[in-house]
Amino acid sequence: MAELYQRFFSRLPTCTVQLSVFDIQSRNLDPLTETYGLSFYTQYLAHWPEYFQVVESPSGEIMGYIMGKAEGHGDNWHGHVTALTVGPEYRRLGLAATLMNILEDVSEKKKAYFVDLFVRVSNKVAINMYKNLGYIVYRTVLEYYSGDPDEDAYDMRKACSRDVNKKSVVPLTHPVRPEDVD
């Protein structure tokens, strides 16, 4: 699927510091959307600028953004989605899919074996969207999100073209603890 989209989604101009730190954060007013410290954003930007993409509306509003990274050794070399957010006014336009495709495209270029992400098990809307994009629940990570009470996460994955035999997306049968996630 990622290969198919490659033709259609060339890369957006990468996110600037101004966009990531100021424009994104100043509007991140939903308390449940993780707002990380400035260092978190700038570190990602300095390390993986190609994995940090923003889509802007014609009037210059941020419609959504994605940030991620590439990590792992050997056949665990993969792209990871750290954050994906679409503003409430810009939902239902397919932006999340566009942004995910960009990240998959970058991961393909980096010759990753798969792309993965973590999502709250309660976030049905997001889980469905990822499933529609070709992701499967690879494993459950117990009490991954701290809170009251702690919440489990699904570790969802989608294989890249390099993983010809789709070895990376054979689901685990048992849940794991956060400390066992590398």
Binding site: T16, V17, Q25, S26, D30, Q43, P58, G94, N123
Partner: protein, 919 residues
């Protein structure tokens, strides 16, 4: 950041011994870390790493002096072992002595001249202090014995930064030519490896404005090898620079065929079309769009090419953009039909998406006002709705809301009764949906139905403004609290609630909602204007001090972090980001609100803080940066109310206010300097500075009074009028009051007894008159709740003055009766002149106390929030469950009472303190 280095070299005994110290430090238990370090040092007293860690623990325990003794001794030994150096680096970093890290590694590389790691640390140490020349030297040295690409490009980047900061054009040219030659060599030798290196090369060419060369490079094989598949996109800015409009036109068209939603391709496409039209390009090339007709044709083709599946907004918005651009100096109707019809068409297609409103907003202003207002109902009715429709499918509700919103954004503003009637209708829609279970929000998502309530609240606000009446605003508050109760994630409701509670002058009620916004990090700066800046003028001084401290802490913390981010950018070779990070750091460093917060905090501390010395803020930024986000509250007013100048005008006002406050803070700091025990002759310099400062303050007050005589319109989304307006236009003569009180300290310190006596008498005479002026300014005009906000601001200005004059009287006391002199002894030694001064100061002190009593009396008669009698009934009707109780009434009442109590306590403390000063 973890103290432990990522790779411990010594796997043996040393590592085992150090491990517990690292553990304690990383866990934040510095006391244990210190004990552990002492233990290790008992066994091996010379172990450098243990001593470095001990110093770090000492530093973190607040024992800076001891820590630096250890560090200095270690530095003398010129250590070169990584553990020691890293620990020392952290200590120096945390104590802001970054230059010492450079010296440390300079010595280390001398003893181990071929260590790649030490050289790279040396490079980073120069990055932290911004010494670009030394960076270049270090990077080249490193590259010589470790010939890796990143090191080479570190050197190139260091040269670029020297060029960028060089004021000498010739030198700049030479440096850039050198940087380019270095990369050119690499290209010739086929050594380029990474995308970032290619981008760096483009950066060098850009700085030399070699657009042609950039284009050649981008279109060459190397670029497409390093950055595959992005040549066309990358060439856009340079085709524009070179004025190659035809090519630009073709490139953008090509890209748009495959990416119909990419606005960043439409914009240069339009630029090219309009430039070609201006140039009267009559080329016969069919494929180039050089007329409005061809451009329109192209957009129509894009619309038609969308087959099944999702309808994209891009081509539709492009048509609106074309209309807008053509309408600047002509009438596009003959080609595109009416702009109004195009907007309506857009709405018909996209009304079921929440983006319809923000998408259309920029284009509504292009329709002439008369046409807009006469046909406004077209927007409301284009999908078969009117204001009374009662849709109950989610998609239809969204459509209805989009139509209603755009209708209000183009229609003529309603008179008060019309606004109230519409608000009631919209409220009815919200309640109907609520009762029918159509509110589908959960804790993370809000829903379309909420927008009925939001839109209703806006109309209640309009009515409130027109009637100068609080009742509609209270209605809005009740409705919004209900919306928020059922839609806890709706930040639009939260922002409006904060704003509307402030409209009624109730900062603490606003604070109850502000806390639910969980404002953090940069938001403390970007929306500081919304709440934090309004706390002091609403007499919520104690809460203001807390939030100002949070804001300052954020900015300070970020300042420390930002140099570390630069080192990451080098580490990962993201050179573009280096420049951006630098610009971003500078923007926060120069933050206007940050500077204002520092001064507000210093001044407010005199009023409401525990007794302490003045926090002298760092110097004012030369050009303060406007980091406010003024678009955070959505606005539904028609285009004629959109105030293009709002951001710059209000920021100018804020900067003027900032400068006034800065002068005050500086003057107070000088008063403190003057109060020390030096002989009078040595104080001349500070005395002159104080007078100059007061003169500047007075002159600025006069100038600002002329500049800011006009009243500002109150809008739901914009900040309240700057505090400078009420301050400089007040009938209370603050210019004279502050000037006199400050000069009094100066004259006393300079030993000019007569002048001091005159000033003290003058101040004592001025105060009772000022109270009369204050009373006049505080008079209730109309609805006492509606004018609460203005009256509190008036009161707060006077309160702040009381805080400062009280503090200054304390300084006078110190000058006049040094604390070390015994009271009894002093009395007998006083000359008649001194007795007179003492008497006059006592008189002034008592006058200030009288002012405080006067203010306390004002508070006694401070109005209550009178809620309409039928509100209870209304509230009962609002709820769907019996458990919901509208919190508005109690928030307003408690907010007011807590504010009054806070002010009373402050006044009591001031009064008590003043009594201790009487001699």
């Amino acid at each position: 950041m973890a103290v432990r280095p990522q790779h411990m070299h010594d796997g043996g005994i040393v590592e085992r011994r150090l491990r517990p110290i690292y553990d304690w430090l990383d866990n934040g238990n510095n006391k244990k870390a210190l004990q552990e370090a002492e233990k290790v040092l008992k066994k091996s007293p010379t172990l450098q790493a243990a001593r470095a860690l001990k110093a770090l623990a000492l530093f973190r325990l607040g024992k800076g002096t001891e820590a630096h003794q250890v560090l200095d001794a270690l530095a003398e030994e010129k250590p070169s072992d990584d553990n020691t150096l890293q620990a020392m680096t952290i200590s120096y970093r945390e104590s802001q002595q970054l230059h010492k890290v450079c010296a440390l590694y300079e010595n280390a590389v001398k003893s181990e001249p071929t260590s790649e790691e030490l050289h790279s640390h040396l490079f980073m140490s120069y990055v932290r202090v911004g010494d670009y020349r030394a960076q270049q030297r270090a990077a080249m040295a490193l590259f010589k014995f470790a010939p890796k690409n990143p090191y080479y490009f570190w050197a190139v980047m260091s040269i670029i930064l020297q060029a960028k900061t060089s004021e000498d054009n010739t030198k700049r040219g030479i440096l850039l030519a050198l940087a380019q030659r270095m990369v050119d060599n690499f290209i010739t030798e086929n050594k380029m490896e990474a995308e970032q290196e290619a981008r760096l090369y483009i950066m060098i060419l850009e700085l030399q404005e070699k657009w042609e060369d950039i284009l050649k490079f981008i279109e060459g094989p190397l670029y497409s090898q390093l950055v595959p598949g992005s040549t066309a996109q990358a060439s856009i800015p340079y085709l524009k620079k070179l004025g190659q409009w035809k090519r630009l036109n073709l490139v953008c068209k090509e890209l748009l065929w495959d990416n119909q939603d990419r606005w960043d391709y439409y914009v240069p496409y339009f630029d090219s079309v309009f430039q070609l039209m201006k140039d009267n390009d009559d080329s016969s090339e069919n494929s180039v769009d050089n007329t409005a007709e061809k451009c329109h044709e192209f957009i129509c083709q894009l619309v038609e090419s969308m087959t099944s599946g999702r309808t994209l907004r891009g081509p539709y918005l492009a048509r609106l953009e074309l209309w807008k651009r053509l309408s600047v100096d002509g009438d596009p109707t003959s080609i595109l039909g009416s702009g109004l019809a195009l907007c309506v068409q857009y709405l018909r297609v996209f009304a079921n998406k929440p983006c319809a409103v923000p998408d259309l907003r920029p284009y509504l202003g292009m329709i002439p006002q008369k046409e807009r207002e006469e046909n406004c109902r077209d927007f409301l009715t284009c999908l078969g709705f009117d204001e009374k429709s009662e849709p109950d499918l989610a998609d239809d509700i969204q459509r209805h809301i989009s139509c209603l919103s755009i209708w209000r954004m183009v229609a003529a503003p309603l008179p008060a009764d019309g606004a109230l009637a519409l608000a009631a209708t919209l409220k009815g829609h919200y309640l109907r949906c609520l009762h029918r279970g159509l509110v589908t929000s959960n804790i993370t998502e809000f829903c379309a139905v909420d927008s009925y309530g939001i839109l209703a609240a806006h109309h209640y606000f309009y009515a409130g403004i027109l009637q100068q009446s609080s009742a509609p605003v209270v209605e809005a508050l009740c409705l919004l609290e209900l919306v928020l109760h059922h839609s806890p994630a709706n930040f639009h409701a939260k922002l409006l609630l904060v704003k509307l509670y402030h409209v009624l002058g109730n900062a603490l009620a606003a604070d109850s909602i502000y806390q639910r916004l969980e404002v953090k990090h940069i938001q403390l700066v970007s929306i500081g204007w919304l709440h934090c800046a309004r706390l002091a003028p609403a007499c919520a001084a104690s809460r203001a001090l807390q939030l100002l401290a949070d804001t300052r802490a954020f900015l300070k913390h970020h300042g420390k972090d930002s140099v570390e981010h630069l080192t990451y950018a080098y580490k990962y070779g993201t050179f573009e980001k280096l420049v951006e990070l630098g610009a971003w750091g500078a923007r926060l460093e120069a933050c206007g609100w940050g500077a204002a917060a520092a001064r507000d905090q210093a001044l407010l501390h005199q009023l409401a803080g525990p007794p302490a010395l003045l926090h002298q803020p760092s110097r004012l930024p030369a050009v303060p940066a406007d980091n406010r986000d003024l678009n955070v509250i959505v606005n539904f007013e028609p285009p004629q109310f959109q105030d293009e100048q709002l951001k710059t005008r209000t920021f100018d006002q804020e900067v003027s206010y900032l400068r006034l406050k800065d002068a005050l803070v500086s003057a107070i700091a000088l008063c403190i300097e003057l109060a020390d025990s030096r002989p009078v002759e040595e104080k001349k310099q500070h005395y002159d500075q104080l007078n100059a400062c007061v003169d500047a303050f007075s002159a600025a007050m006069d100038k600002c009074r002329q500049m800011y005589a006009e009243k500002e319109r109150i809008s739901i989304s914009a900040p309240f009028p700057s505090r400078i307006i009420a301050f400089v236009n007040s009938p209370v003569p603050y210019r004279e009051l502050y000037g006199t009180a400050l000069r009094l300290v100066g004259e006393l310190a300079a030993g000019h007894t007569l002048a001091a006596q005159d000033l003290s008498t003058a101040a004592a005479r001025m105060l009772p008159r000022a109270l009369l002026d204050l009373t006049a300014e505080l008079a209730v005009k109309g609805d006492p709740v509606w004018c609460m906000r203005d009256r509190l601001e008036t009161l707060s200005n006077y309160l702040e003055f009381v805080g400062i004059i009280t503090f200054l009287l304390g300084v006078c006391n110190e000058l006049f009766a040094p604390t070390n002199a015994k009271k009894s002894k002093k009395k007998t030694n006083q000359s008649p002149d001194e007795l007179k001064t003492s008497e006059l100061l006592n008189k002034l002190n008592e006058t200030v106390q009288d002012s405080i009593t006067f203010l306390e009396n004002i508070l006694d008669g401070w109005p209550q929030y009178e809620l309409p009698n039928d509100l209870e009934q209304t509230l009962a009707n609002l709820s769907i469950d019996n458990k919901y109780q509208s919190p508005v009434e109690s928030k307003l009442k408690n907010g007011r009472d807590d504010m009054i109590t806070d002010v009373r306590n402050i006044l009591k403390r001031k009064s008590k303190y003043l009594k201790t000063l009487l001699q």
